[in-house]
Amino acid sequence: MGEFGVIKTIDIAIPYIGMVQVNPTTIFTTWAICLFLLVVASVVSYKLRKIPSRFQAFVEIIYEAFYNLTVETIGEGAEKFVPFILTLFLFVLFSNWVSLIPGLESPTADLNTCLGLGLLAFIVAHSSSILYKGIGGYLKMYVEPFPFLLPSNIISEIGKLISHSFRLFGNIYAGGIVVNLIPVIVLKLLGSTGIILLLFMMPLLKGFFDVFVGAIQAFVFALLAAAYISVLR
C-alpha cells in the first residue's frame, strides 16, 4: 500500500502467461519474513535442552498453546496440522507487524497475499478431507443433506475461502488507511499545533492497529484455518 492506499506495481513478463502486475514491496517483505522465520526456527531448534533456556521456554509455551488449541478444534489426528497452523499464525503475525519498521508495508495489506494464504488453507482443508474420508466420502459431503443443495454447498465452500481472505485483508488495509488519514485530519483541524498531539498519538495508533489488531487477526486467521479443516473432516 502506498500513499493513501495507492498500490505501486511493476509489470513483469512471464513466459507462456504474459505481462503480470506485481507489487515489489509485497514480494520483498514476504521473502524477508520467510527468511527471518527460517533463521529463528533454525536458531531455536539448533540446541534444544531438557532444561530450556528462557527463549526455548517462551517458544515452547507458544507451541503448547497452539497444540492444545488445534487439538481442541480439529479433534482426532490434529497433531499433524499443528506445524501448519502455527506457521500460518507466525507468518501472518510478522506480516502484520512488519509495517512497524519505517519504509516497509504489511504484505497482508495486499489482497493477493491474503487470497494466497486463504487458498493455501482451503487446499489443505480439502486435501485433508479427501485423505480422511476418501474421494467418495468427500464428494458425498456436497450432496448432503439433500442432493438439490449441491449449488448451495459449492457456494458455501467458495464463500468460506473469500470471507477468510477478505477478513484479514480488510482489517489490515483499513488499519493502514486510518493510520495514514488521522495525521492529515489532525493537521487540517489544528494546524501546526497538531504536530505536538500527533507526537503522542501516532505511536499509540500504530501500536493499536499494527501490534494489537495485527496479533488478533493473525490468531483468528490461524484458528479459522483449523476450524475449516475440522468442518470438512
Binding site: T73, S156, S163, L223
Partner: protein
C-alpha cells in the same frame, strides 16, 4: 489452586478466545455466501436472458449455503 484447576481455567480461556474468533466470522461468512449466490445468479441471467429467475434462485441458494456453512462452523468447533 490445584494443577487441574489451572488446566481447566486455561482450557476455559482458550475456549472463550476460540468462540470469540468463530462468532466474529459468522456474519461475514453468511454475507459472502449470499453475495456469491446473487452474483452467480446474475451472471446466469445475463447469459440466458432470464432476469430475474436465476438471480432469485442464486440468492436463495446463497442464503441456504450461508446458513449451512455457519451451522457447520459452529458444530465443528464443538469437537
Amino acid at each position: 489452586m490445584s494443577l487441574s484447576d489451572k488446566d481447566k481455567e486455561s482450557s476455559d480461556i482458550r475456549s472463550a478466545i476460540k468462540y470469540f474468533a468463530l462468532i466474529s466470522q459468522i456474519g461475514l461468512q453468511f454475507i459472502f455466501c449470499v453475495l456469491l449466490g446473487g452474483f452467480f445468479g446474475l451472471k446466469l441471467d445475463g447469459f440466458f436472458n432470464t432476469t430475474p429467475l436465476f438471480s432469485l434462485i442464486g440468492l436463495i441458494m446463497g442464503i441456504i449455503g450461508g446458513a449451512f456453512s455457519v451451522y457447520r462452523l459452529i458444530f465443528a468447533s464443538e469437537k
